[in-house]
Symmetry: C2
Subunit: 339 residues, 2 copies
C-alpha cells in the first residue's frame, strides 16, 4: 500500500494556487497505541483553507511548508489501536489531503471537528458539507449569532454556496424572508429553484444597491456575510433598525496584509442600532451533536437541500482551492479519492 | 417677561458654528390645557447636537431653520395647566435653548427624555449630565451593549468626557480594568486622578498603537467608542478574543456625507469572534427610573464622580457646540441662564 499525500510546497500570499502544492508517495503510517488508521474516501475543499496556509493571524498556526495540507476528510477505519474504534467504522475529521491518516482517537472525540458518522442512511460525503463544518457554520452563525426572528428579511452572500445555501434554508425554516446574493445566472437560478430563496440577486449584473433596495424595501434585518468587500458595503448601508450581521467569511478580499480600506460603517451601526459579530463554530462544540441531529432530520425530510461538486482523484487537489475563488464550483466541493 | 431664544439661522455642513445661530426675544408663550410653563435654569450642550442640525439621516428630523435649537434643559415649573404638575416642581426635558418653554405634560412623562427631578438633595444640573442623558448612555451602553465581565480590560475613548468618565467608573464598579484615551495632559490627569482609570493614554502624544499595547497587554475586551476615526482604528486591531465594542458616538469624524474610508474591520471581527454594536438609549426608556436611582446612589456615595463646566448666560450658546468639538471643555458643558 502506498500513501499519496498533497504537501504544501511553498507559502502563498493570498489565494493558494496549484503551484503551491506537490503530490508525493510515502509508506502508509504505522499505528501507535491509541491511534486509528483512516482510509480517506472524500477530501474537503473549503474557502477557509486559504487562511490555513497563509502566514497572517488566524485561528490556528499555518500549515508548515513541507507538511501534508490540513483538511477535513471522511473515510473508513482500516485498523485500530483504540478500544472505542474498530475497522469499518465511518468517521470524519482533520485527516489531511492524503490517502491514509494515522490519528489519535482523541482527535475524533468530543469537542473536535472530527466525529463518528452515525447517519449511515445518508451519504458519507455529507459529513463534509451540510452535516459537517458547512451546515454547523450555517446553523450556529445564523441561529446563535444573527438571531433571526419570524418576518425578518435575511440577506445571504455567496447564497448558493455550501454555507450560504444552508443559511438561506434555515432562515426560511425560522420564518424569515430570504434574499440571496450570488454571482452569475446559474447560481441565481439555483438560489430560487434549489434553495428556495424568496429573491436572488446577481451581483455581477450591476447596480447591486438598487437591486437590494428592490428586494428589501423595509431594509435588511439580518445579513449573513461570507464575502466582505463591495457586496457587503452595499448591504451595510441598507440595514434596518436593530439589524444583526454575522461575519462568517471574507471571500471577496484576497489579501488582508496590509488591511484594505473600505467605507466606514460606524455611523450606520450607530443610527441603526445594529450589530456586527464575527464567530467561529468551535465555540459551540458541545452542541454539535444536537445541531447535527436537527440538520440530518431536515435533510431527510427534504427541507434542507444541498449540492455537491465531486472532483475525481487526488490529482485534482492542488488547484481545487484556487478554483473555489474563481467561483467555478456549484455546490460543496469535494475530492473523491476512493470508493 | 421676555423669552430669549436661540434659533437655528442656517443649516451647517459638519460642526455647527456660532454663525449658524441667532438670539431673538419673543413673548413668553401662553399655556394651552395640558401644558406647563418651564423656566429653564440650565441648558445642555452635547456632541449629539451636531446631528440634530445636520440634514443627514439620524434618529429624528433635523431642527428646522428658523426654529428654537433643540436641547435638553433643566428648570422649574412656573405655571401649570396639568393636574400632575404644580409651580415649583423641578423638571428636565427637551425644552430647547430658550428662557421659557410651554410644553405638553406628555413630553415630560414616562418613555421620554424628560422627567420630574426627584433627587433634590443633589444639584439640579446633574439631571443634564451624570443623572441624565450622559449617565444613562454610559449605563446602558456599557452594561447592556458591551456587557463587561470582572477582569475585562475596558478601553474608553473621550475618556474624560461626560459619557466616557461615567463609563470608566461604572466599568470599575463592574470589576474591570479601565484604560482611558483622551486628548492632552490635562484630560489624561483627570482620567487618573478624578475618574480612577487604571491607565490613561494621550492620543495627541503619538504612537497610540504602542501605548495601547503597553496598557492592554492581553488585548482589549471591551471598547466603548465615542470617536470612530484613527483612535478607534488603533483599538480595533488590538481586540481580544470575544471582544465587545459599543458604538456610542463618532466625534472624530466631522462629516459622513460622503461616507469616509477607513481600514476594513471584518477580518479582525472574524478572527477575534468580536462584536460591534451601535445603540441609542431610547430603547431602554422603561428602565430609566431604575438606572437613575442606581446612578444617584453611586453619586451620593462618591463612587461616581463628575465634572461640570458651566458657561454663564444664553449668549454663550451659539458657539458652545463648536467649542465641544475644539475639545476645549473639561467636564459636562452646561449653560446657566438663571438661578
Amino acid at each position: 500500500m502506498r500513501n499519496r499525500q498533497v504537501l504544501l510546497k511553498s507559502r502563498p500570499v493570498g489565494i493558494p494556487q496549484a503551484e503551491h502544492f506537490e503530490i508525493v508517495e510515502t509508506p502508509v503510517p504505522a499505528l501507535r497505541a491509541g491511534q486509528v488508521l483512516v482510509r480517506n474516501l472524500y477530501l474537503s475543499v473549503e474557502p477557509a483553507m486559504r487562511g490555513w496556509v497563509n502566514a497572517a493571524a488566524n485561528y490556528s498556526d499555518p500549515v508548515p511548508v513541507g507538511a501534508v495540507m490540513r483538511s477535513l476528510a471522511a473515510g473508513r477505519i482500516e485498523a485500530s489501536e483504540h478500544p472505542d474504534w474498530k475497522p469499518g467504522d465511518l468517521v470524519c475529521g482533520m485527516f489531511g489531503w492524503q490517502d491514509y491518516a494515522a490519528v489519535d482517537a482523541a482527535s475524533i472525540g468530543p469537542a473536535t471537528f472530527g466525529r463518528r458518522v452515525t447517519e449511515t442512511d445518508l451519504p458519507l460525503s455529507l459529513s463534509l458539507g451540510v452535516l459537517g463544518l458547512n451546515g454547523l457554520t450555517a446553523y450556529f452563525g445564523l441561529l446563535e449569532v444573527a438571531g433571526p426572528k419570524p418576518g425578518d428579511t435575511v440577506v445571504v452572500s455567496t447564497a448558493a454556496g455550501s454555507v450560504g445555501s444552508a443559511v438561506g434554508q434555515i432562515a426560511k425554516l425560522s420564518g424569515c424572508r430570504t434574499v440571496g446574493i450570488a454571482g452569475g445566472p446559474d447560481k441565481v437560478r439555483q438560489c430560487i429553484e434549489t434553495f428556495g430563496y424568496d429573491a436572488a440577486i446577481d451581483y455581477k449584473a450591476g447596480d447591486l444597491a438598487q437591486r437590494l433596495r428592490d428586494a428589501c424595501p423595509a431594509g435588511v434585518d439580518v445579513y449573513f456575510d461570507n464575502t466582505s468587500g463591495p457586496i457587503s458595503d452595499a448591504v451595510m448601508v441598507q440595514l434596518a433598525i436593530g439589524a444583526r450581521v454575522a461575519i462568517c467569511g471574507t471571500a471577496a478580499v484576497a489579501n488582508w496584509d496590509p488591511i484594505p480600506a473600505g467605507p466606514r460603517i460606524e455611523r450606520h451601526l450607530l443610527v441603526k442600532r445594529a450589530r456586527i459579530q464575527g464567530f467561529v463554530i468551535f465555540d459551540w462544540t458541545s452542541r454539535f451533536p444536537h445541531a447535527l441531529a436537527r440538520l440530518a432530520d431536515w435533510v431527510r425530510s427534504g427541507r434542507l437541500r444541498y449540492l455537491e461538486e465531486v472532483l475525481e482523484g487526488i490529482e485534482q487537489a492542488p488547484d481545487a482551492i484556487a478554483g473555489l475563488y474563481r467561483g467555478e464550483n456549484l455546490g460543496k466541493r469535494l475530492i473523491r479519492i476512493a470508493s
